[in-house]
Symmetry: none
Subunit: 200 residues, 2 copies
Amino acid sequence: MCPASSSRWCPTPEQLMTLRKMYRNGVRTPNASQIQHITAHLSFYGKIEGKNVFYWFQNHKTRDRQKLRGKLNKQLHLQLQQQQQLNYHHHHHHLSQTSHFLYDLGSGSGSTSISTFQLPFYNSVGLFPKRGAREASKQAKNYPWKMGKPEALKENTMLTTFYNEDWTMMVDVGPPPCCCPKPLKTLELFPITDRLKAAE
Amino acid sequence: MCPASSSRWCPTPEQLMTLRKMYRNGVRTPNASQIQHITAHLSFYGKIEGKNVFYWFQNHKTRDRQKLRGKLNKQLHLQLQQQQQLNYHHHHHHLSQTSHFLYDLGSGSGSTSISTFQLPFYNSVGLFPKRGAREASKQAKNYPWKMGKPEALKENTMLTTFYNEDWTMMVDVGPPPCCCPKPLKTLELFPITDRLKAAE
DNA sequence: GCAAATTAATGATTTATTCAAG
DNA sequence: CTTGAATAAATCATTAATTTGC
């Protein structure tokens, strides 16, 4: 165990047990006060500093999340594959019909219980007089997701490669007024300005 | 997860990852065109509709704000507490050497020649050049665990019995409004009035 | 059995974010 | 637009587990 001249804290079993227990009980990011308490009391079992406690919770929380995420990913892997295959078929099925598939997926791929166009929006807006006229009018329009088909996308046949960092950036920035300058598959659609902040 | 017959959208990990990334990159309220893009491309990873994207951003934005607000409130409380503690420390700095080992272990064990007592998060990061950052940062940064030694503990001679389930729970749950039924020493320092969750 | 070598855990730092206040 | 405050994610670095060759 920790060499006498260790440069880092080595929790004793008791300390570890205690920290874990606290974690289980919901402690995640103890504040300074709590850290002090914990440190003070754990110091009974061995050398320990406040920062050790601080770091321990940080790391434990993070790694717990990671572990969980990994699990979920694995669990979803099968379903994912299935979905992807479905999508693949779906895409291929419609591919011959050119532009249709894209927005079809967008608004119709789901069970689409709803006949599309009523809903939620009205809830949030119409019911609340609070909203200013400006917002109301803004939302009075069709919901965003009901829009027409994005023509620019219809020609994209390489989804697998299309989705990438650049695309993300592009979408992030928000659409510049002009449309695709170059009709190439991915990047050309959106002249990437460096500004990441989209206008609100 | 999502049962095949689920009535609501269950984002796949890839979808979630992508959405989060876009959020991080600044997307907040994508317009219809953007939603179409996003939906179309995310549909590659699984079933998804435009409204899902729309709602996701709505909800994420809202919840992010809520979370932040909560955090800020907490921090306010913290700052106050810490200030109080600082004052306390200044007044009682040399009170007793008896159980010195306790807090000494807590904050003075390492090189840590830091003079403690600086307000946490009085962070002057960036003032220090990259190299030697290790040493420098030790002094430059202030973290919650940099707070003063818990003087209150100095007089606590019953750690063995004090540290128990109850204490753990106390720290975990966060302090109930009422103060300790048992006036133990350590508790006095932190009149934990705070429900960790402050008023909105 | 036992160390050197290698790998897995995990402690400690640094970096990149977030929203909103100024 | 910039900055404040505080992470949480990513990364670095050291310790513990373990494997391996003898």
